[in-house]
Symmetry: C2
Subunit: 182 residues, 2 copies
């Protein structure tokens, strides 16, 4: 299989491709992202824009969005904003949407429901102090300390990390992944 082009600087997405053994090169896309609207549409629009912004035969653009009650929660601006985001998600079930676009192959949007435990001050202070919320949509990292905030999910876990593996590998089959049967 020829390497795909990952149009993202996200270390989590890189780690997932490495975990799968999918050959890839990284060419981060700099695009103006849409931040409001229907979450699935926002994620797909941004994924498409990222894939289009970078050279390559099969470019993978991905965008992940955290949505609750019609609102999209982006990356917190500061500690106060991080705490407010955690309190908004606490004790509730939000939806993580990823849009993935693999140029020359296809695209899809994937939803995973994520339920947070109720969070008292000690949880919020513990998590904000970890600094893990920085640069994360929705202000948490499920693959880090954020795991302690989550009581359950419904759907694909890797979608919450930043690249929905089941849907992505389904697209990859067109390119011959995981290989022909002997």
């Amino acid at each position: 299989m020829e390497p795909i082009v990952l149009a993202s600087a996200s270390p989590q997405r890189r780690a997932i491709l490495e975990q799968l053994g999918v050959p890839f090169v990284v060419r981060p896309a700099a695009v103006e992202e849409v931040e409001e609207g229907d979450p699935a549409t926002v994620a797909l629009t941004n994924a498409r824009a990222k894939a289009a912004a970078v050279e390559g035969e099969h470019v993978l653009g991905v965008d992940t969005v955290v949505a609750l009650d019609g609102r999209i929660y982006g990356k917190p601006a500061d500690e106060r904003d991080a705490a407010a985001t955690l309190r908004a998600l606490a004790g509730a079930t939000h939806t993580v949407w990823s849009g993935i676009h693999l140029s020359g192959v296809g695209e899809t949007a994937v939803a995973t429901a994520v339920t947070f435990r109720p969070l008292d001050n000690s949880w919020v202070e513990w998590y904000v102090a970890s600094d893990e919320w920085r640069d994360r949509a929705g202000g948490y990292a499920i693959q880090g300390r954020g795991a302690a905030l989550v009581t359950r999910i419904e759907g694909d876990y890797t979608n919450v990390v930043g690249l929905p593996v089941a849907a992505f590998t389904e697209l990859l089959r067109t390119l011959g992944f995981p290989g022909k049967s002997r």
Copy 2:
């Protein structure tokens, strides 16, 4: 918080405790494990036995079991067994049970439903060739290439990795985790 004692040699369980920032020391327990019966009871019985086998004030024993249609799938013996296990789980939803016992605190059993995609020969051969099935209950590692076999889960993802974080941190609260609110 005083370090807890992890009565397990599992690198995945160590990694989760590190990820959470929970202080711990490792003292693997060598016990005769129960391998048949009701999955929740098996997991709790083994967890209890591991916690009891090791010295320490607060010893964490954990056991994880993969169950489908009343059968428990252990660690595959060889490649042929690994392939047979994958084919048994393919296109179906199995349950992963973890029992956790924290001595001096309490115990609980946690279930997560895991749905596998249908697997044709190319998937089975790809996964068996990865060797990732070795030493894994149910013959797969969801935190590795096994992620590509799973289309969705319902419940706590970390439970499938080997230590259910939400239930575990709930037990830990008794010991003062994540710390007092300022």
